[in-house]
Symmetry: C3
Subunit: 437 residues, 3 copies
């Protein structure tokens, strides 16, 4: 994927891409973890784009089989050589400290220090991302090259952190639509300086909410920014009785790299969002992959656990774990491209358009074709160059609208874009030829 | 398709092909439209082959969302130059006048006349076929080369036509079978001198009816020759209560060119005729295409409208609109080949054999295989060279005939021709091994 | 297939292969037919490995549409030339006499004798295998080369056989499991000196029974060694009321050659054994073929007749009738390989493991994932190198175990070996995370 040239975006999308990339860049340096001030500072930045309800859930709260952990507070982390020169500093990269590392303040010989240092020998120039949630430990991450360059001797290892009773923080925003039926849009907010995973997801969702502000929608849209796994579990535990309102959902993560989009189906496999995303990708991103559900991944793991089995899929670009930059310092601000962020946002908006407008209609004159010419409908639809496609869309809609097939079903059967079918359906509704099923 | 060499037909089919081509040639020169004497003269020719009921439906009759239009009467059409030389004449080709053109009798400069002349700049040697149904207009069609060769100057344009209250004409023949369940065979009869579209369809259906005359059949067979769209709509409007008798149906059009057969499934997609035609083509025309239903096409558009949803498919050879001769003067008597006409007729007869003979039987001795050797059934079936195939057919029939699978289902599962299965079934019925389900 | 190099077996399987081949070699020389002492002697050999109930069913017994035939007793068969030199002798190969041949003792000129001699002109070095069940006849089989080498002259043809009222013999063994639900394992026992067809099947099943002796199983396992067709029919006729106990079944034949395994599905096509065998072959023999049911074959013809429609598939290696050694003297002890016999036995045992262990479980904590790390389950499963696969298996099991999917369904969806899923399920059951559905 690093070898893949990025497609050039349309000029129209450039401003959007630039704004998204700027937001990613603002989120990037913060040292996030599953709890702590990193998450709070990130949510504060996002709040400038959408009104966020910030929830603080105390450490020790029971959430299903889990307990909200103690809060991690990290102030500094470094390694100094015998001359007091810093050979590693948290200020250079938030990846340098193992996430949730306990404190240390000790002078050790290199061979002992090594046991607490994680590197990537096969990618010697990159710093890995490591965590030690739910385990008492301390550690650093650095590039293998930098480690190998260290001379023998004594080093001062210092991690100024503490694990204390505090809270887990997540942010939530509800765009209120005409009905209480909800669409869940969820991004994890717990990774430190990884631009794609998941500053990209947070930025895209925040910007999406901003673009939807004031728009009248059929569904209500719930935007959730929560730490991975424990955050989604906490939200589900606190909203267990309300999950049956969720009609569609998407987990968004890693949507800024140059790879083709990858959609992972919900556990159900044939949920509305699965059909809608497959349709959108077929027409807008023909190189996209659609994959079957698997229980390994992001927070769709929780939303699609068998007790909930929510209709929630996952959108990413290059599949996590399958590209070399994944969970390394190479997942940086260069790895994430403005035009890809904009493209991902457009795909989500296209899917939203589909689920918003999809409905079942019925042909009011089902015996033989109605005489379209007499009504001025042939070739006269807006006078555009797509008249032939619109004519075909009319025939498909009239033929298939027997109450059992939705507009999306018809678009798929006709191999026409949903937008063409939906716009044509509106014309036929105005003429009274299609009526609610 | 024009570059495709025609397959040589079997000698046996040659006489049939010649007779079919002669009938196409007789129908070809007539100036048909959706109403008028062209249709009447064509039906008169067909009546020599099958007893036709001729129906005249008055202009102004309401048929569903449509109204039977005024009748078009065309007597002559020409363009003369200033010296009185005819540069275009209806007598040379019925395509020269736009079908349903209103009258004109005027002298115009070439640049004004051009606005009423249709040509094909990309196929400059061919005359296009154009219509202006349901719109007041007049016009000519000619080859682009001929138009370009005209010198500037004044021309006398004359179309001696009128649109008057009259009637729409269609012809119908019912071959009466053992039951009132019907098979609908329908060809459009409204195109002027286009040999494939649809003189071929009319000729093949007329000849088929002639060959079936006197044959005892299980189904009744309704042959319909009607103008496209408005004819089928008119027939459906007048027979609305009787359409539930229709068990199978085929629209026949463009069955004389050298292209491989193309079958378009009914809207249902899995109707008996869909399974039967797919079987027949798999075994008799392996290069054939089977396509899913779409609402654009010939009169299956009306038969498969959602209020009727009849089990009617469409058989053609090269798909309409996808070959260069379509709707041009190149769709002439050379474009239609005797052996292809005969082949198409044979395919329809093969499908009829399938639907006539298909039925569900039950193995009377379903516990273990019956002892076929004792009954002299192994290898003894007619003593023919196909004994191995017949033996296999016996085993398939005995194994699968549990009342839930028809002979056609079994033939498809066994990958054997329906004829082999049906002939073998008769042998096993005579032996009492298979009984009605 | 003769050109295909045999894969080398694992050392562990070598002893098993050698033992199986020795058993094949012991069975090979016996002159078996559908009745008679050949079958009895073969069953006596097998009885040393598993306790066999020997059934004798009198000639003339009616079994469904069939009658148990007279018993064939063969003592000797030879052809001598005028000088008394034996040019063919039953003692050299049991294939030399047509099975069920009536007696003869006559001197004939070569051209008359030829009418009673079967050869394979296209495989001139091989003796064919021929039978004349249910027909009065006599005959010899020999290689075409040997026949062609015979000088003209008179020959003494002698077949010392008789067809007498006696009985049909089959052997049966029931491995008793925890339930009365049965697995039927069936091999035909009627072919003479054909090593693959079916000494291999008899040997593999006998040895399988021996290995299962004393093992506690959920199902009861019925081992059946019976002459082809008439034996299976006889068994079914005598056990008609008990066949509804059969939950799974396999016909085993031709399992010693070097070809890839071939599994033929039951008539149902989606029986448990069909899913289990497809799974086993996908993981253990990726070059295996899985074919749809057809009514031509071994005794699955009877088990899958529509009155029974038992869930019985068939396992062989190279498909019968599709390799040159089939039903010739080349199907000898060299054609059957120890490692292939062992491999086939392992495949059957793997399928048995699947059907024994397959079951539906239910996630006891279905809302979100349970916290596996807290229970020491992550990466800690036995400490083996397959930790990642086990972790994935845990996630799949927890996500999919909603009571509607069995372990095998989950293994197939996860594309993991059943063994991994089953072993992981046991761990999760011990933890109380999975419970009976």
């Amino acid at each position: 994927m690093t070898d893949r040239a990025c497609a050039s975006a349309s000029p129209a999308a450039e401003a959007l891409g630039a704004a998204l990339h700027a937001l990613v860049a603002e989120l990037f340096p913060i040292c996030r973890s599953i709890t702590g001030d990193g998450v709070r500072r990130s949510l504060a930045i996002l709040s400038r784009h959408l009104p966020l309800d910030i929830h603080e859930v105390p450490s020790g709260t029971q959430v299903f089989d889990w307990t909200v952990p103690r809060e991690w507070r990290i102030r500094d982390a470094f390694i100094e050589d015998a001359l007091g020169r810093r050979v590693l500093s948290l200020r250079d990269s938030t990846l340098h400290v193992v996430s949730y590392s306990g404190p240390v303040d000790a002078v050790l010989p290199l061979h002992e220090l090594r046991r607490h240092i994680h590197t990537l020998p096969d990618q010697p120039g990159l710093i890995p991302y490591r965590t030690s949630y739910y385990a008492e430990n301390w550690g650093f991450c650095m590039s293998h090259d930098a480690l190998e360059a260290l001379p023998e001797g004594a080093y001062h290892a210092r991690i100024d952190s503490e694990l204390v009773d505090g809270s887990l923080t997540y942010g939530e925003h509800l765009h209120i639509g005409a009905t209480e039926e909800e669409v869940l849009l969820s991004a994890h907010s717990c990774h430190p300086s990884l631009a794609n995973d998941n500053c990209s997801g947070m930025a895209v969702l925040a910007r999406l909410a901003e673009r939807m502000a004031g728009r009248r929608t059929r569904f209500s849209y719930r935007f959730l920014f929560a730490p991975g796994t424990i955050g989604a579990i906490t939200w589900l535990a606190r909203n267990r009785e309300r999950t049956d309102r969720i009609r569609h959902g998407l987990v968004i993560a890693g949507v800024g790299d140059c790879g083709a989009p990858t959609y992972k189906r919900s556990r159900r496999g044939d949920a509305g969002i699965d059909v809608a995303m497959a349709h959108v990708l077929r027409h807008l991103a023909p190189d996209a992959q659609v994959r079957d559900f698997s229980p390994y991944g992001y927070d769709e793991r929780q939303y699609c656990s068998p007790g909930f089995d929510l209709p929630v899929g996952m959108l990413q670009r290059s599949p996590f774990g399958e590209f070399p930059e994944y969970h390394t310092s190479a997942d940086n601000l260069d790895f994430v491209r403005p035009e890809m962020l904009a493209h991902s946002l457009e795909l989500i908006e296209a899917a939203i358009e589909v689920i918003e407008k999809d409905r079942c209609l019925r042909n009011a004159l089902p015996f033989c074709e109605p005489q379209l010419g007499r009504r001025g409908l042939y070739g006269a639809l807006g006078g555009d160059a797509n008249a032939a496609k619109r004519n075909l869309a009319m025939l498909w809609l009239l033929n298939q609208s027997d109450g059992s097939r939705s507009l999306l079903d018809i678009a798929d059967r006709a191999r026409l874009p949903f937008g063409t079918i939906a716009a044509t359906a509106e014309v036929l509704e105005r003429e009274g030829l299609l009526v609610p099923a």
